[in-house]
């Protein structure tokens, strides 16, 4: 239950069967069985490189983030990514030329859409993957299924799984991926750069009181995020705290609770700010939503959808949100005009893109 199977199963399309849906709510995730606390930083470097003369292919054994030992051929020349976040990370590491296939949902950077598609993240075409003859298939625990991993095992295709659960782990995971894929320096540089940006941000807003926000995943019904998700951690980094204290990853939230807790700002992740703006106007007409002060005062922030993906770009989304929630910390010359640094949030400034 900890790892959001709810989404995944629904995505598969358990349609219109209330009984099935009821099962989903309590369904265990296949991954849970393999879940082990092995996500420690040092991975086994047992390079099982065959030094003996005649061997053609060399292998390296690594322990992935779910604790599985994977034998990966060296050097890694052909990569298939089964998650948008992994595709983004590969591009960030500069390894895009070795990416031979990705999913229908891999839309960033835009060039990633032109790669050979292997289907969705939940039900990729195994035939297509096998046809691409990858050295390694990258999967991530929060999106892909254990079924896929088992099927790849059966085909003898190595799969490396990531499982970042907070912003630090997203950085560490990208760095490790660089190492595993044969781009150690690029991985280290990427992680260092991201860490530097986060440090700069912390200096700016670390001392400010966090803003109490409601992160809105969906409004009908209201879906928000749980406290153990990487998104909740990203909000914390941006000087915000989610009012929803739930252990579920994607809780359907009772609007009464929200009205009781009265968030200062509603946060939407949307690639088109105008859509959210229109959406917000709709919410403001509903009796139940109008009793939220944030809705009446139009205090909402629209940030990039990148916040939904455990990839390096999440740092950009964090910076974006921080600036919208704490504009006073980003004013260049605070000495000249102290009055304008008011704490009142203005809808116009929040939506300015």
């Amino acid at each position: 239950m900890r790892h959001t199977t709810r989404f995944r199963l629904i995505d598969i399309g358990g349609l219109l069967l209330p009984a099935l849906l009821a099962v989903m709510v309590v369904a265990p995730t296949g991954w849970a069985q393999t879940s082990s606390p092995v996500a420690t930083s040092a991975h086994a470097q047992n390079s099982a490189t065959t030094q003996s003369g005649t061997a053609v292919q060399s292998f390296r054994e690594v322990v992935d983030e779910t604790g599985r030992t994977v034998r990966i051929p060296q050097p890694v020349m052909r990569i298939v990514s089964l998650a948008p976040s992994l595709t983004e990370t590969i591009y960030a590491l500069g390894l895009q030329d070795r990416l031979v296939g990705d999913t229908d949902y891999c839309d960033y950077p835009p060039e990633a859409q032109k790669k050979q598609k292997v289907g969705g993240a939940i039900n990729p075409s195994l035939e297509e993957i096998a046809h691409l003859r990858p050295d390694v298939v990258l999967v991530t625990k929060h999106l892909n299924t254990l079924d896929t991993v088992h099927s790849l095992d059966a085909l003898g295709i190595p799969s490396y799984a990531t499982d970042p659960r907070n912003v630090d782990e997203i950085l560490a995971s990208a760095k490790r991926l660089g190492d595993v894929l044969g781009a150690v320096e690029a991985g280290a540089a990427l992680a260092e750069d991201l860490q530097h940006r986060l440090d700069v941000l912390r200096q700016k807003i670390g001392a400010l009181p966090p803003r109490r926000v409601l992160f809105v995943v969906w409004t009908d019904p209201l879906i928000s995020i749980g406290k153990d998700t990487f998104i909740a951690d990203a909000l914390r980094r941006a000087g915000a705290v989610s009012i929803i204290d739930s252990k579920q990853d994607w809780p359907q939230v009772n609007l009464e609770e929200v009205a009781h807790l009265q968030p200062e700002v509603l946060v939407f992740a949307e690639s088109h700010a105008e859509t959210t703006l229109q959406h917000f106007d709709v919410l403001a007409t509903r009796p139940a939503w109008r009793i939220l002060n944030a809705v009446r005062d139009r205090n909402f922030a629209v940030i990039s959808e990148a916040v939904n993906r455990p990839a390096p770009r999440i740092v950009t989304a964090i910076e974006e949100l921080a600036e919208k929630l704490h504009p006073e910390a980003f004013v260049e010359k605070p000495a000249s005009d102290k009055v304008s640094g008011s704490t009142v949030l203005d809808a116009k400034c929040l939506c300015a893109r």
Partner: protein, 346 residues
Amino acid sequence: MRPLTIQRLFLQCAALAGILFVVVIIALKAGAVEVSLFALGRDLIRVIVHHGGEIKSDYGLIVMNIRLPRILLGIFVGASLAVAGTGFQALLRNPLADPYVLGVSNGAALGAILALLVSPHLSLLPAVADLLTPLGAFLGAAATIAAVYFLGRREGQIDSTTLLLGGVITGSFLAAIIMFLMTSETGSNLRGMAYWLMGNLSTSLQPSVYWILWLGFLLGAGAIYTTASDLNLLLSGEKEAMHLGVDLPRVRLVVYIAASLLTGLAVSVSGSIGYVGLLVPHVMRQIFGSDHRVLLPTSAFGGAIAVVIADTIGRTVVPPAELPVGAMTALAGAPLFIYLLRRRMA
């Protein structure tokens, strides 16, 4: 069948109305903020007298703007589904019939999904845009009702078996289209569709919608009630009923249209909530017998009670999160159905 007296019917309905009242009071009290009975009564009176303008307190706003509308919606949905289920079970002479058996819910789901897909591309007034999903759902339901009606006719009349088969096939065809749309859609839209399909009462509706819903309920349930005596005769068989003077084609048409209308209205505002329309008529039949003049009104109360209880548990059991009411009714409904089944066989 015991002879029906107005007195007995009135007493039975009054008893159920009393239970519903108690359930509603408990549901009004339960939730994120505690409310005292005194404050609740005072605010209710204020709403009735002053049209709600005076309530300033935190709990008052929450109860009046969120909790009470949601409970009223639950009553409507539960009553509609149970009456529709009773109607379909009699019409199709099939104890497994429920309001969704003829594909109406899939038609509504498809309409809602299409509305979700097109609404971002239209520049509508906010209040209109907000009505688009329920409107799409209702149009989808209405189109399905019409299609199944034409499929279910033989020699100009509705034939129960043909209707049932036509409805089931139409429903699965529509489900296939929904599957296709959902697999070709990505990201947040997909999530929205999935949640819509799960069935829940948390939607905040414009006040005017409530009037439409209750008007629809009175029309639909009233129409079915006019056929109650005919439905009783139908229990002994279609031929027998005809011999006893039942105008079967008219009864079938009225029950089909009215029950479908009730289902369509319910689905358009709550998605599909399973087991209520199937199970409540069975439970009421066990308690009150199978006289439809009693069964229809008692089922309406029973459905309302069941849905309000299920939703109250669903929204209070794991705060601040909530469980969709459809999951609650299925969790409770399936075991109860099996229990009833075994008991009847014993």
